[in-house]
């Protein structure tokens, strides 16, 4: 079968997957953790502990409040030192709880062995509740509370669950390692989420550069008897959208190999790549009958529901220049980036960028005293001048930006319009549809900061709309 991919634009940046063959290791336990109360999109969690309280690993320390929110759990056992603020990536202070670690006592009921739990003993509603109580948010980086995704409004129907194992950002390998080392848990987690949604099919999309993961996932699915019967997958993918009438809640899981192309991990691109459905501008995947979750999210869902283990740690790829021991580490949430880097023998030099996430869309840190959060898939250090901005030349109309834009925009034109202050025209040319994947700035031979201009234009438009 021809490998699938999304149709518009895309490119393949040098992927630098240096840590793809490093097994997941446990990071040392930090002496103290700063656990931010906002690790998700939405309203901050309401703190439940106070200074001097004793907590265990997995103790609820803040509960979600409002419609879109997620609870926060302690990631270490110890004493609450204070409820204060901690810096986020941009250097803005956000409320957080400081906990001093003392040993490693886990909350009762959390199962820490690796025995597989295959049977689903809960109703879908119970599962969504459990997912919410476990503090699950999208682990791909957007950190959208997972429960909210699963509250399908009446009148809407979902027919497919997509599990995003694309990991198209250069450098990052945490999802790759997860699929390779815990294929059963990933598959069971995917099946669990599929069951919760009540759809017949969950599709795990993986890029071809992770052939080993594709193979092992397929074997696992076969072994568990979850692979779809012949022709089912093709028929499903051809169907534009089917009603999700599935009272028995039985179903299948399939793995689809995708051509290596950035930004395939973007939700809308992934849906188009696999199902050929275009999410209309300004709409959600739900509007085309799809829900997308990251593989790490699916894995955590399994841990939360079947092992009662809330989100207290996550796998982070720590890589880049100046790191003596790059690899994939299981890090407790709230551990400071400074401690992580220190532990891995980080040698700082001038012109250092420390990035949370990948190099294409990640955020640079203003300070190393920033905690690892639920959405942090990688800590990347880039040093030296080659990662600095280059001098800008004139646009030679090479059309690279147009040909790589996954949203079918004309980045060169948007750049020009924003530079001239012609915001209304920029809006007509769909500047708001830009997903800020950075492909245009990456390929530009004149090194023009196309995305800078697009961001400026979007911010200015926001301001005009507000006033």
């Amino acid at each position: 079968m021809k490998s699938m991919t999304f149709s518009k634009g895309g490119m393949h940046p040098h992927d630098h997957k240096l840590t793809a063959d490093r097994p997941i290791e446990n990071m040392i336990l930090p002496a103290t953790v700063w656990i931010p109360l906002i690790q998700h999109i939405g309203s901050p969690a309401q703190v439940l502990v106070k200074e001097g309280d004793l907590v265990k690993v997995g103790t609820l320390i803040a509960k979600g409040q409002g419609m879109i929110s997620a609870p926060v759990h302690s990631s270490v056992s110890g004493t609450v030192i204070k409820v204060d603020t901690v810096l986020d990536a941009g250097g803005f202070r956000k409320p957080a709880v400081l906990i001093k670690r003392d040993g490693d006592n886990w909350e009762e009921g959390i199962v820490r062995n690796f025995d597989l739990v295959k049977s689903i003993d809960y109703s879908p509603d119970q599962i969504t509740d459990k997912i919410n109580d476990g503090g699950l948010v999208g682990k791909g980086g957007a950190t959208f509370p997972t429960r909210v995704k699963y509250l399908v409004p009446p009148g809407r129907s979902v027919d497919t669950l997509l599990i995003n194992g694309v990991e198209c950002e250069p450098y990052l390998t945490s999802d790759h390692r997860l699929m390779l080392e815990r294929p059963e848990e990933v598959v069971l987690g995917s099946n669990l989420l599929r069951f919760t949604l009540g759809v017949k099919l969950a599709i795990i999309g993986v890029e071809e550069n992770k052939a080993d993961a594709i193979k092992i996932l397929r074997q696992t699915i076969d072994a568990m008897g979850l692979s779809p019967p012949k022709g089912f997958l093709q028929a499903h993918m051809k169907a534009k959208a089917g009603p999700s009438d599935n009272p028995s809640r039985a179903g299948y899981i399939a793995v689809i190999a995708l051509k290596v192309k950035y930004p395939q991990g973007a939700e809308k691109q992934l849906i188009e790549a696999i199902l050929g459905r275009e999410v209309p501008s300004g709409k959600l995947p739900l509007d085309v009958g799809v829900i997308v979750n990251n593989v790490a999210t699916a894995h955590s869902a399994y841990k939360i529901v079947q092992k009662h283990k809330p989100m207290v740690e996550r796998i982070v790829t720590v890589t880049g220049d100046g790191i003596a021991r790059p690899g994939n580490y299981k890090i407790r949430i709230g551990m400071l980036v400074r401690e992580v880097l220190q532990e891995l023998g980080f040698v700082p030099s001038s012109n250092t960028k420390v990035i949370l996430g990948g190099p294409m869309m990640g955020k640079t840190l203003t300070s190393l005293d920033v905690p690892v959060t639920k959405g942090c898939s990688g800590i990347l250090v880039l040093q030296g001048e080659q990662h600095s901005r280059q001098a800008v030349g004139a646009c030679i109309r090479c059309a690279s930006c147009v040909s790589v834009c996954p949203m079918g925009l004309e980045p060169y034109l948007l750049e020009k319009l924003v530079g001239l202050g012609r915001l209304e025209e920029a809006e007509k040319h769909a500047i708001r549809d830009c997903v800020e994947c950075g492909s245009c700035s990456y390929v530009c031979p004149a090194k023009r900061g196309i995305l800078d201009y697009i961001r400026l234009g979007k911010a200015q438009l926001m301001r005009v709309k507000r006033s």
Partner: protein, 357 residues
Amino acid sequence: MVNDSAVLTVSLSPHVVGQQNTSWIMWSVVLALLPALGVGIYTFGWQALVVVLVVLASAVLTEFLVQVLFFSRRPKPALVLRGLHSKQSKWSIVDGSAALTGLLLALNLPVGIPLWQAALGGVFAIAVAKMAFGGLGHNPFNPALAGRAFMLASFPVTMTSFARPYDWQAMVDGLTAPTILTGVKEGLKQGLDLGQILSAAPTYFEQFLGNEGGCIGEASALALLLGGVFLLATKVISWEMPFFFLLGLGGLTGMFFMLDPSQYINPLYHLLSGGAVLAAFFMITDMVTSPMSFVGKIIFAFSAGVLTALIRLFGSYPEGASYAILIMNALVPLIDRYSKPSRFGRLKKPLSKELKA
């Protein structure tokens, strides 16, 4: 120990950039033209190299002088960048675009051109067709072709006196060799039989390898193809524009050939001679003066091919690629306007009902 005083750098994503840059693109096109230049020198003698060097020098020098004299102040961009790694080069000639224009123009000249005319062509191409519009990236017309059009209008005799291969000195004595296309056009006018005219012409294979009178760069289609393949392989150009240009040209001339083989020559002659290959790989693919979207590029290249065929078949010029491309250059803003890429998620028809349900 992580040093506390280490000052981090903050910047907007993306934090990595691609390897391609403008001067790399320009110099690789120059590199791709070298085989054609080599064959040109082999076919027409060292005089060819002299012509090329004169045009090159005049083009580069003109760009330099225009920049020094008129470009001392440039408008401030809307977003000034801070903390750049490399400094902007002060002189635009290092990006290779002037050298490329000069080389392209030179390859479009007959070897016997007086050197002062060649130099003037280079000056026009850069000063008028490129720098007057604001320099690299702002010129609406392909500077090399504009220079050639200017020279064709100004020096029609020297521009159309083509030397016989391996014998350019003979031209000094007034012995010139018409290209196939000129020969056919003139011959048909005089009422000669097509077969009679073509009997003297080189075979396709000779044309392909390089045994044809004409401009310096047009001697061998093979050498140009080599360069073209190199550019395709390094992804400097993409396939659609050369392909659709040749399709437009070959398609229309082929249609007429099939209708009346006694009046119209085999399209292979059209494709292999008269700079069609040079135009397809090096002229029409000029980034600055071609459309931005995929569909726009196809419209542009195909129309240019058809126009070339029309000029060759019915116009008074035996060769039409230059003019066809210049005409299409003028239409690029219009093509850009009406050939927008299809936007993701902006469906022409609203969502189907079953999806809404």
